[in-house]
Symmetry: D2
Subunit: 186 residues, 4 copies
Amino acid sequence: MKFAKQALLVTALAFAGSAFAQTPVTNAAINETEVLAAQKAWGDALVAISEANVQGGPTAAKALAEKVLDGAYGYNLGPVLFKPTLTQAPQTFRTTRAGALAYFVGGDANYPTDTGFALKGWKKVEISNAAILLAGNTATTMGNVSFTDKDGKVTVVDKTWEFKKDDAGRLRIVVHHSSLPFAAGK
Amino acid sequence: MKFAKQALLVTALAFAGSAFAQTPVTNAAINETEVLAAQKAWGDALVAISEANVQGGPTAAKALAEKVLDGAYGYNLGPVLFKPTLTQAPQTFRTTRAGALAYFVGGDANYPTDTGFALKGWKKVEISNAAILLAGNTATTMGNVSFTDKDGKVTVVDKTWEFKKDDAGRLRIVVHHSSLPFAAGK
Amino acid sequence: MKFAKQALLVTALAFAGSAFAQTPVTNAAINETEVLAAQKAWGDALVAISEANVQGGPTAAKALAEKVLDGAYGYNLGPVLFKPTLTQAPQTFRTTRAGALAYFVGGDANYPTDTGFALKGWKKVEISNAAILLAGNTATTMGNVSFTDKDGKVTVVDKTWEFKKDDAGRLRIVVHHSSLPFAAGK
Amino acid sequence: MKFAKQALLVTALAFAGSAFAQTPVTNAAINETEVLAAQKAWGDALVAISEANVQGGPTAAKALAEKVLDGAYGYNLGPVLFKPTLTQAPQTFRTTRAGALAYFVGGDANYPTDTGFALKGWKKVEISNAAILLAGNTATTMGNVSFTDKDGKVTVVDKTWEFKKDDAGRLRIVVHHSSLPFAAGK
């Protein structure tokens, strides 16, 4: 839970036709600014993991990915509803931290088809929201995310994120559904 | 549900050649500004009912009180947890609209001790919050409310309000606990 | 808002070392049973629209689809975050009721690529949740939905739904992201 | 956050016209059973503190009171909206843990009028709810609480509690307004 005004009532004032000196406001709700910041942080983190891979190899990339997962996702709160872009049955849904980590950086024998989405040399991530739903202490976005790699190739996905504000006031991804656009004729 | 921002994204984002022109944001959460406005509206309404009583008598006061109750309280959503300042057992809690109306304007044989709190000639209402809790699509306040009558006499009460934002984006009082300050030695 | 116990306090009882005769409980939260019922209703409705098309043609199908949309989705609350399985840019996201209706039954010149997903002769819909997140007055599910058509052909999609309980206690879909499974090598 | 079903997907099953073996459900919402249990725990704790005072004196009572406060109230989440029964201006509202502790066990020079509500030899606490509002991840109750002391004397108060389910799935009191019944003629 976040303190919009952290100052507490150091001095309790007698009511005297006026007001308390300071009114502490605790805010468990999520606003649009917080949502946009959390989305940007996700994109920046993906690029940073790609860069860590270039600079320090898979070990460095994995270490950063773990830090990102632990800070930005809600696996500490319970299973996360995560459908990554490129996963397949029977491992489509990555409700556990291990499954998410394997998707991002690969190298996990339990997820043999994972090659590491975050290792694909991403240079830029852009997010375009079709709509945002601020529901209270959760918020959901839907729209396109475009990934530009080191060769300038752009991949666009359809993406839904639901964020929850935790007790410490931090937004955590509790739902993440990503998919390649439907291609007619396939 | 209220649209916090219907404004367009005036700066077009160059997203893969096609940014969304507008991102609609639906906001079910309550912010501090909305809470303070709802509190002020409650105080203004009380003074207005007192004034309606002076100008038009009990019938006018009752008509306005019904309008206020239907607009500002959540009796349309279910029982309201309402403990008025001056009620007594066995009619302490006014979970129904009828019980609330009787408290504010009296004249209901089913509530024989009610004399009409809103008819006491109130001229001014001041609200001083000790703390505010924004919980998502509800928000709760606690603090003092002072009522000044036509003779300048001030009555101060301890008051808790919980507001809920309804589907139409309107804040409604779903909890209201009011009490006279404890007086030691009584 | 739903009344878990609709009985009101017909008679307010004096406190006498015991309890109130009846405690009304208003419940704005969503439980798992409600979620599963809403999912099943969605599947049943899709089959019903297909059947209406067989029995009464496109007009009957459209009439039923409108009724289903108005009862099961939250377009009355604001834009719905809806990414149907088979839509394409620039009409991927169907945040409006018109866009959703066109997707389900086609026949709208403004959505020229829509042929009517609900008209594909669906006979059976099965839902398998990978995980469920009950967040308060919203709930989100993620998993597979399989559609069996009149020839016994099965189509499986990855699907996320977020439901919101409205003021009347009805669950409404406010987020819906559906996608075909990723196929490696394509 | 509480896991209604903590079992995770040990084995991810391929979709085959059936279902996932286990669906983990994360539940951030509060139900009536949880509310009643939290209320009962509050009453039991008050009696336990009184008993600790008899058995071990003020030091033992204070130690237990601190444990109760830390487990049952939300001071770790931010200011609590707490208006105890017997406090007076300018210290009516106890939004800090220190203020709450002083109210329950006294002995704090910063709160000179506090004599320790929990030290009054309470033997029994009974709770009678006039209405309950389950709002999502918060829930609010209003009603009477009766306290019976060692001499059999009963004190009845009007009380409102708002509980919030924290990230660990524990209900915490975030709002608490208690007041003596209004006595006409005083």
